[in-house]
């Protein structure tokens, strides 16, 4: 999903860079007022951790493989603003060190994977885990949030490509989003299991943010508002113009009436697949959107059921650590409040 240079036009570059700067600036400001300095090394290490975790590939389908994005993982572990900063640092270093993702496309990449993914994922996670109070609820919430963050980031990515005139929405949207609906399943599985294993090993770290009802972790509403409106603005700009004419109605009418608007822009070199001759291409995005909605509902239900089955017992897990003879009473030092 890392967009290389050359795929975006100037207006997209400027818009996405502006959004990313606002988002990062907001995150830095939130952290400046609320963060203890001990969190800085933790975030640096978290960035290195995400970089390494992203190098692990998992198979998706038919020989293709995806890798972890980690945005929801880091947002749930450290908090949304920290998530934005960690993901941005990861993307910047990947860009300048590994040439993964373009320099001018950095704004777009940070917006998709460093702002949309953690913020949307974190809000969904908070929403669902606040709604289902039972213990399995937070696992289901994490799974669903991880899946949605991946899909949403890919939708934004396609929107930016389409806005730049690089890829047609009617083809790019089904292709990219379709693949990422599958990659998202891997993301959901790994994110949930990783959080479960961290919670099991070190419940004192309180890996699930805001699960303890701790008032100190509650963020002021303004931060949420700004991230939320940034997200909405991005979606409105990149996705809505294309989504609103999904059935390609206008173009179809124009074609049937006989004035093919595209005829003037007909290139010297003909495209190998003339788009209007591909049957059913107009309904493909609609089908994908439908599949996305159905998929989202399905993923939500499945993650609820699976979380209920898999994590039924985990509620007693931390308190079960009782002292028994021949065993050290506390395997690790007691809570040092690493995360606040």
């Amino acid at each position: 999903m890392h967009i290389p240079d050359g795929f975006l036009d100037t207006k997209t570059i400027v818009a996405t860079s502006l959004f990313s700067l606002i988002g990062i600036g907001r995150a830095l400001k939130v952290l400046k007022t609320q963060m203890s300095p001990r969190k800085v090394p933790l975030m640096g290490l978290a960035a290195a951790f995400i970089f390494v975790a992203q190098m692990i590939n998992f198979p998706v389908i038919a020989g293709t493989s995806g890798h972890l994005l980690g945005a929801v993982l880091v947002a749930v572990l450290l908090g949304p603003s920290e998530g934005i900063l960690v993901m941005s640092v990861v993307l910047i270093v990947q860009c300048f060190l590994f040439a993964d993702g373009g320099v001018l496309a950095l704004g777009a990449n940070i917006f998709n994977m460093g702002i949309i993914a953690p913020v949307a994922g974190y809000s969904l996670y908070r929403l669902i885990s606040g709604w289902i109070k039972a213990d399995y609820g937070k696992y289901a919430a994490v799974a669903f949030a991880a899946w949605t963050s991946t899909v949403l980031a890919s939708v934004c990515c396609v929107g930016e490509l389409a806005w730049s005139g690089t890829a047609r929405w009617s083809i790019g949207f089904p292709a990219m989003t379709g693949i990422h609906m599958l990659i998202g399943i891997g993301e959901a599985l790994i994110t949930t299991f990783v959080l479960a294993s961290i919670y099991k090993a070190r419940p004192d770290l309180r890996p699930f943010k805001d699960m303890s009802g701790d008032k100190r972790e509650a963020r002021p509403l303004t931060g949420v508002l700004i991230y939320g409106s940034l997200m909405l603005l991005g979606l409105v700009l990149f996705v809505l113009p294309f989504a609103s004419r999904w059935p390609d109605g206008l173009e179809k009418v124009a074609a049937t009436l006989g004035f093919d608007t595209k005829a003037l822009a007909r290139p010297m070199v003909p495209s190998p697949i003339p788009e209007y001759r591909v049957p059913g291409i107009g309904s493909l995005p609609l089908a994908t959107a439908l599949a996305g909605v159905i998929g989202a509902i399905l993923i939500f239900v499945v993650s609820l059921v699976l979380a209920k089955i898999l994590f039924r017992k985990s509620r007693d897990e931390p308190s079960r650590r009782k002292w028994t003879p021949g065993q050290s009473p506390e395997p690790r030092p007691p809570s040092k409040d690493h995360f606040s």
Binding site: P4, G6, L28, G44, L45, A48, F51, F193
Partner: protein, 206 residues
Amino acid sequence: MRHDFLDRYSRIDSPIHRLPAALKMGLALGAIFIIVLPPITALYPFLFTAVVLLGAIALSRIPLSFMVRRILIFEPFIVAVAVLALLQPGGFLKFSTIVVKSTLSLVTIIVLSNTTPFTELLGVFRRLHTPPVFLTMMALMYRYVFVLVDEMQRMKRARLSRTFKNKKENARSWRSLSMMIGQLFLRSTERAERIFAAMSARGWKS
């Protein structure tokens, strides 16, 4: 173990390596602007930057095989996304320009990151008034990526030496992979604690 896969040749010596980092950074950014911004039909900017880049590669003593391998890592993705451009009016022209533009930009960054140590790039970022929290995070990330890769490989080896290799992908292997990632996170946080203590002991303030 050697984990210099990221910027393997950034610390060798050549006329290009000896140039100041800020100059190289500026030139690279300029080159990318020249590559990305002109319209599709402009040919000379691409030719010009391609010649300059080839010259830089020749002068910098980065082995060509390394360059090619590094390009081949990302080229499939570029082509895969560019194929989307193929399926629209004017597709072929668009497709070829995108591939050319992306590849040239890719080469520019590979040359930059393999002729300039990352710490010097960080120095340039600092002079550009990047927020200090950001700089500290980037520096720590660069410092510890290699350590964490080592850690991950140690865990993988330990796991392989203790278990049978699971051929089939099933829930259990997803879970054990996740446990490894979770363990890596725990080790990272513990390391971060130690680093914070060491940094504070040396008078660090955020």
